[in-house]
Point group: D2
Chain length 338, copies 4
Amino acid sequence: MRYFKSDNTAAVSGEILDALGAANDGAALAYGADRWSERLDAVYGEFFGTPVRVFAVSSGTAANSLALATMCPPWGTVLTHCEAHIERDECGAPEFFTGGAKLSLVEGAGAKIAAADLTRRLTWFDAHVHGVQPRMLSITQATERGAIYTPAEIAALANIAHAKQMRVHMDGARFANALVAQQVTPAELTWQAGVDVLSFGVIKNGGMNAEAVVFFDPAQVADFEFRRKRAGQLACKGRYAAVQLLAYLESGIWKRNAERANRLASRIAAAAPKYVSEPFATNQVFMKLGDERIAALTAQGFGFYDWPPAGSGECRFVVSWDTPEDDVDALCAALSRI
Amino acid sequence: MRYFKSDNTAAVSGEILDALGAANDGAALAYGADRWSERLDAVYGEFFGTPVRVFAVSSGTAANSLALATMCPPWGTVLTHCEAHIERDECGAPEFFTGGAKLSLVEGAGAKIAAADLTRRLTWFDAHVHGVQPRMLSITQATERGAIYTPAEIAALANIAHAKQMRVHMDGARFANALVAQQVTPAELTWQAGVDVLSFGVIKNGGMNAEAVVFFDPAQVADFEFRRKRAGQLACKGRYAAVQLLAYLESGIWKRNAERANRLASRIAAAAPKYVSEPFATNQVFMKLGDERIAALTAQGFGFYDWPPAGSGECRFVVSWDTPEDDVDALCAALSRI
Amino acid sequence: MRYFKSDNTAAVSGEILDALGAANDGAALAYGADRWSERLDAVYGEFFGTPVRVFAVSSGTAANSLALATMCPPWGTVLTHCEAHIERDECGAPEFFTGGAKLSLVEGAGAKIAAADLTRRLTWFDAHVHGVQPRMLSITQATERGAIYTPAEIAALANIAHAKQMRVHMDGARFANALVAQQVTPAELTWQAGVDVLSFGVIKNGGMNAEAVVFFDPAQVADFEFRRKRAGQLACKGRYAAVQLLAYLESGIWKRNAERANRLASRIAAAAPKYVSEPFATNQVFMKLGDERIAALTAQGFGFYDWPPAGSGECRFVVSWDTPEDDVDALCAALSRI
Amino acid sequence: MRYFKSDNTAAVSGEILDALGAANDGAALAYGADRWSERLDAVYGEFFGTPVRVFAVSSGTAANSLALATMCPPWGTVLTHCEAHIERDECGAPEFFTGGAKLSLVEGAGAKIAAADLTRRLTWFDAHVHGVQPRMLSITQATERGAIYTPAEIAALANIAHAKQMRVHMDGARFANALVAQQVTPAELTWQAGVDVLSFGVIKNGGMNAEAVVFFDPAQVADFEFRRKRAGQLACKGRYAAVQLLAYLESGIWKRNAERANRLASRIAAAAPKYVSEPFATNQVFMKLGDERIAALTAQGFGFYDWPPAGSGECRFVVSWDTPEDDVDALCAALSRI
């Protein structure tokens, strides 16, 4: 099968495997007291151009949920898009980690939240004990429909949130793809725009099993470390998580892999532009091909997901950092034929 | 430093690294739909000689807590030893995962629970709504003090538990060490003795970041998979967890590594037998050396932990699968001098 | 002020106070082992014409949340209307009691869920671990907008739910008002239509501080009693809760009070029919008066709530069992003048 | 039966019933916006001689658990006596309300915690993420074995706790009995000795179904009110809870009832002094009568509890505010005969 299902189907970058091998040398103190883990804050601080606290966890779900739990009380609610991963695809993990906080949903094209919609949704909440209190905003970069937020858009949302004493979380499972898609710095796309905590995705873009949670204000970390341990997310052989996070930035694969995936995806979008159903920006291409064409492509050996709701005739192609160029060629050819 | 602090300080077995590399070949379906994950039940079923369901998670804490959460309701309690890892070293993870179940503690030499003590402790509970209800027994193999349970001892405890409708969990963070220390089969040490669910430790004994949760009755799995996902413990690139679990059994390192660690540890115990404070059985050696001798060894570059409570003059030496023979020689020599 | 804010502002029926006084006679066993508590199942069983298990709790929020927690696992979700009390007005209590289950919202006029909308909403859920699983349907009788469900409507919803292995909860905070508004029996409006568990409201309709949770299948009670105790909802002097529940049915005030409130409310609806914004059915009257008329009525000393969202120009008048006839006369006169 | 089982079997003081009746007069705003609820802080502030925030809840279990949840994070632990009500008799309520915090147990005669034992127990905890962190101390006044803490004893414990950044909770289910048993003021027995939050028991000593949670530093209230609502513990008809709390202090029954119960209990203790197994102080009398004498008393129609563990031959007699003098006479006579 030629895989366009998800960037989760990708293998691991050689740079990551090499780093794991290089770290596999004798004893090292456990639970993050190793020399690799101890470099994390500095390396990520340099990347973002500000002091940060960085923590490795084993999955994007854990990254998101722990970030939310640190800043949202059980009687709080997280404003987020109705198609967000934390709402749709994590089996209630945010509710579990926060001790039962809610997600309050906002609609919007491209799985993006518009400032006006956020403002309107916030009017639903009263500052009394009968209702949950908005305490966080969570946005996804790039979104579940492949769209990206610009620094200005993020700042507009963050300003609204901060004015209400809400913290801002960015689910950056595909942060690198969103970053290289714009002429901006990591700083501009995060803390300078008002992001308080970032789930910085590594796995989809070449990593194996470590994601980074980045706090832009070290003082906000508070109880994160207790919660991480308590959630079984503190790796005992911490070096094997840390080196993935280090190699991701230091080898440059965050950029190289994301650029390649975005570039190849752009070819797919260009192969059948009239079917493209979401403004193309990163490594995901949405097309409203209709059930017949979808069936035809499937029959030709292309693997990809129909997009809900069922019967929409829409599908999604995702290009991974390691999708063979040949597979992209084949898909483009097939698309141009239909 | 010569490390005897914990088997968590060890590196990863070459067999595990090789397996990770071998699996790093092109695309594979995510979240456990890969061909490695799909072999897990069969391979572990053969090892244990009975049909099992096996799930990979990223840490021993997650393994223990998810196993408990699946079988213990929030208003239940888990009977366990007062020195158990789940009580002392997991920052309340069992309480978090179960939704607030309790741990009810039993004392006992060697961090072992004796059948009579379990029976006595159970008399504290009444079948009314005012108190939590005993729903699980959790024992550790090998224990936090290096002791092991024999099949007969496990069966005695499990019979008591099952008679009360309690399920039996075994925290097998060092299961392989306990297994090779006895002339018994994996089956005899687990399900044949009444164990319902096992946290089968891989990481300490050569793995990188995957542990196995083994359910001996497939029907008991119930909601485990939802809870694993919800806890951020379902790896998206599942193959890199699965191959660790497969290689651990199929390469034979579970046995080779454990035998080596146990053997070297026995040399340490033999080097200063009069100080050995716990019956030696596996890869942990406890000695009551007194603070002065402890300080002397530390000064000579040996790394190990004083054992609580503070001021007890007791310390622990742990041998890992990869502890250099030279380090053991040096420690034995130092011990024989004091 | 003339109060039309909520039936929560009402006093307690004399029948309830008398019952409390009558029970205040010497010692009685605590925690529900008293002779009043022991009659609950029989009295409610007769009312509903089927064996039931009935439990007293101190609030409607507790009734709803405990009912949901008993039947919905933490990784489940409760389908409910987006204006439901459990979603809007309980500060996340369902999430707290269930251990972090979700509420998944359905829209619909009159705060009612239509069968087609429920069916459509259920298509969003897949039977895989990535998403929460629908396990309950919760409907409100009468709804937050004063509408009522007929037995046929309930049955249609319950059939859909049961076909998906979901249980059906009815939030009957105003169940009596909904019942007397129709020519149906308690049985027809609940278990015969497929309701599995009912929060049977007593407080709003004349009670003091006890609500009933009614399970129509005694076998479903399972862990309810542990959860109630654990939530601090098992009254130690249980008789003072039980007698409220008994007097509510046995004195007939459930019917008398509800009929009076409904009747007086119908006069209000009739006083300004062109402004009535929701089909009138019980003791709540919604009117789209516009901000100016609302301000005028407020200035005349009528107390009532503007209905969200802010600026809608809509307001709600609620008649309690003890709203003075004189207050209703005054409101009707004021309404007929505008 | 002549009841000496528990002060929970008592009826409600006439003063409380009268207050409920007096408040039952027309409409009042719901959820604590009534004129009775609004007086609570002032009345309790005067009683304690310091500004306080007071909240009504429906049970002692709710009072304790909500107090703990407000000040103890999920990764924290509450140091308490191994026989404390929160450990033994609340079905895990503290774990539920806190989101899975632990209770860490301290032994001690009379169900009291000695300062030296608290200090020793605290040495078990390390300030690292592997273990839960001590965040609260909870002591019971009077204890489960009828003992009382003096202001000096409380201060000694509170000083130890505060030095570790722990907060101090007092479970005062029988606070009035402990207070009248000493020549001290409410202030001396609480905040002046270092108590941060008090569960002030009303129900056992004449109330119906309302207990008070008293915060001595208004700034500590933080999220209490959200948690109370979310737990279904905010009464909608709040006046009927508030008047119980007001009448309890303002009518003087807190003192009158407690003094009577203590005085009658002292007669029981004096009737068979050689069997008294716990230093007598309040309204509970513990006697080691042996199973034969216990059976004899039971046969004579006296109702009381054997005290665990089973077979100890110990029993407990509790005198309530309304225990008939005649019943006490009869018990004293029976005791003097054996």
